[in-house]
């Protein structure tokens, strides 16, 4: 049976770095512009802790269903690598800010719980690139000193599907707790997976595959490692405890440098950084600012009658399009006793897909939009085809029109319930389609739909299809 534990590095969304006042958002910044003497590791530079990082770490603890520890300290972890200017990483070794906790999620409708061993604050290293065909590497220190929280799971997972689901749930938790931007493409969350296989109760030798930056890569790397290790055992070869990297192009893991043992890191208390002592009062104050977590929304939306699938889509989209506030919108709709299920269908089938194609404007007030559109549909003034067109137009406009019904009317999207007008069209259609008429008279229901379609077309989509149906049936009564 395979056994999997995951270490996750989460970049915290502070404005400045963990130990210096350099800017922390390296996305799109020119190389080596967000650096200073502290992050550059110049002798004598004094690191001073960013208090926001402690606050965010407390929120991480709460998202992991535990409490931050009231006493924690910083240590130096020594190793030499070009992206680590100080020659050591500032991290938390024996007194981390979080010990314990758990992540719970559902997989194939079954509840799964993964324990958290610990989580600690540390400074990120710089970023190195290796230009193709050159004999050198380049180092950009913009990322050096970015606050990270490293979350270490218990080895509680036993399949690639569980590993992927854990990584995704952790992503949801960190995003909803609002501690990270959660931009995986830019490395805001990076996963190291520890995999071992064994056919008895004793854990096998594990490999660690580092720096996976997508849920799919987590799944694929775990699959690959399980297969590779089983192969080795079958061939009677030893599994080496080592660090491996993921080759996305080839979809394989490859051996990296030999992993140094913990005692090789020569951990020592960082004399520049006094201990952090917080109290219950502080923790309670932070708890008051903790946003609603995924489980709150799951249970709320489930009570409103949404399916698990719909809830999953909405939870995901709410992160990608945080400006739209989809979940708050649904809650507001429910508070106003409006039709939440219709709204959900609009969001999932129209709004979110349009958003994914960047066909929406950010400042549209969706509450008024959907309130009006759903009311127009319910009152029979708008049919579903025109409604879709109307919603698409409204979402892409700079500003909502003051009167949506009037806008729909002048755009020719409202349907007509005028029986005389529709009757004229029905008569024309019956005259022009003798074959379909014959089919209807012969009892073929499908042909009715065809005739309604013709009426809709000649009315440019504005006829009320129900009125058209009634008239056609009436006229073709045997």
């Amino acid at each position: 049976m395979p056994t999997i534990g995951i270490e996750t590095h989460v970049q915290l969304k502070t404005k400045s770095k963990l130990f210096s006042g350099a800017g922390n958002d390296a996305r799109g910044a020119e190389p080596n512009t967000l650096i200073n003497h502290v992050d550059f590791g110049l002798p004598g530079a004094l690191p001073v802790l960013n208090q926001e990082a402690i606050k965010l770490a407390c929120k991480v603890a709460m998202a992991l269903k535990t409490k931050p520890r009231l006493f924690s300290t910083f240590d130096r972890k020594h190793y030499f690598y070009p992206d680590l200017p100080m020659g050591y990483q500032i991290t938390q070794y024996d007194q981390p800010i979080i010990i314990g906790g758990q992540v719970e999620f559902e997989l194939d409708s079954k509840p799964k719980r993964v324990g958290i061993t610990r989580a600690h604050l540390e400074a990120d290293a710089g970023k190195s690139t290796h230009p193709a065909g050159k004999d050198y590497s380049l180092v950009d220190l913009n990322r050096a000193g970015t606050p990270l929280i490293e979350i270490v799971s218990e080895p509680d997972m036993h399949s690639s599907a569980e590993a992927k689901a854990y990584a995704y749930e952790l992503y949801l938790l960190m995003c909803y707790a609002s501690v990270t931007d959660g931009d995986l493409y830019h490395g805001n969350m990076r996963f190291d997976v520890n995999v071992s296989v064994s056919n008895n109760d004793i854990l096998g030798v594990r490999s660690e595959t580092k720096n996976l930056n997508s849920f799919r890569a987590v799944e694929k790397a775990v699959d690959y490692e399980i297969k590779r290790q089983i192969e080795l055992i079958k061939r009677g070869q030893p599994i080496i405890q080592e660090t491996r990297g993921w080759n996305e192009a080839k979809q394989i893991t490859t051996s990296l440098r030999f992993k140094e043992n913990a005692d090789d890191y020569r951990y020592m208390p960082d004399p520049d950084l006094p201990p952090i002592v917080i109290d219950e009062n502080y923790v309670n104050k932070v708890a008051e600012t903790l946003p609603k977590l995924p489980d709150f929304w799951r249970s709320k939306l489930f009570k409103l009658g949404l399916s698990k699938m719909q809830i999953a889509v909405l939870l995901d989209a709410n992160i990608d399009f945080s400006d739209c506030g989809y979940l708050d919108l649904i809650a507001d709709f429910a508070n106003s006793n409006l039709d939440v299920k219709s709204l959900t269908n609009w969001l999932i089938n129209v709004d979110i897909p349009l958003n994914r194609e960047s066909k929406t404007q950010p400042n549209i007030i969706r509450f008024s939009l959907y309130e009006s559109v759903i009311r127009l549909i319910e009152s029979g003034k708008l049919n579903s085809t025109s409604a879709k067109e109307l919603v698409a137009r409204l979402l892409s406009s700079e500003k909502l029109p003051s009167n949506i019904e009037r806008f729909a009317k002048t755009s020719g999207l409202l349907q007509t319930n005028d029986t005389d007008e529709i009757e004229t069209l029905v008569d024309q259609v019956i005259k022009a389609n003798p074959k379909a008429v014959k089919d209807v008279l012969g009892g073929e229901d499908k042909a009715v739909g065809y005739l309604i379609g013709q009426v809709m077309a000649s009315s440019h989509g504005q006829a009320n299809p129900e009125v058209a149906r009634t008239l056609i049936m009436h006229k073709l009564e045997p």
């Binding site: 404005k15 190389p31 190195s128 201990p275």
Partner: protein, 98 residues
């Protein structure tokens, strides 16, 4: 008396990313052993009731607000001591295989 083996010295050299010539190894075995022996004198002190000292200042919670600080110099002026700069990045020996 501390006894450092050739293996220990080679391991230290590897961790420190220092290349040693064969004739340097014995020199370092001897030198580091003498340093260790000197430090070993500390073992003579009775520290049974002494709490380990991690910090000597007695301070706690030295923190700053989360604001970007203008340090009054161009960040790239830090490159003055960097041996090789290319495309505003620090050029180093290739870290991964070609």
């Amino acid at each position: 008396m501390a006894k450092l083996s050739k293996k220990d010295v080679l391991k230290l050299a590897r961790l420190a990313r220092i290349e040693l010539e064969p004739d340097e190894i014995n020199v370092y075995i001897d030198e580091i052993n003498r340093i260790l022996t000197y430090v070993e004198q500390l073992k003579l002190v009775d520290s049974k009731d002494v709490i380990p000292t991690n910090q000597i200042t007695g301070l706690t919670n030295i923190m700053r607000s989360d604001v970007i600080i203008d340090y009054g110099y161009n960040p790239r002026s830090l490159f003055k001591n960097v041996p090789k700069v290319r495309q505003h990045q620090i050029q180093v020996k290739r870290m991964v295989e070609l």
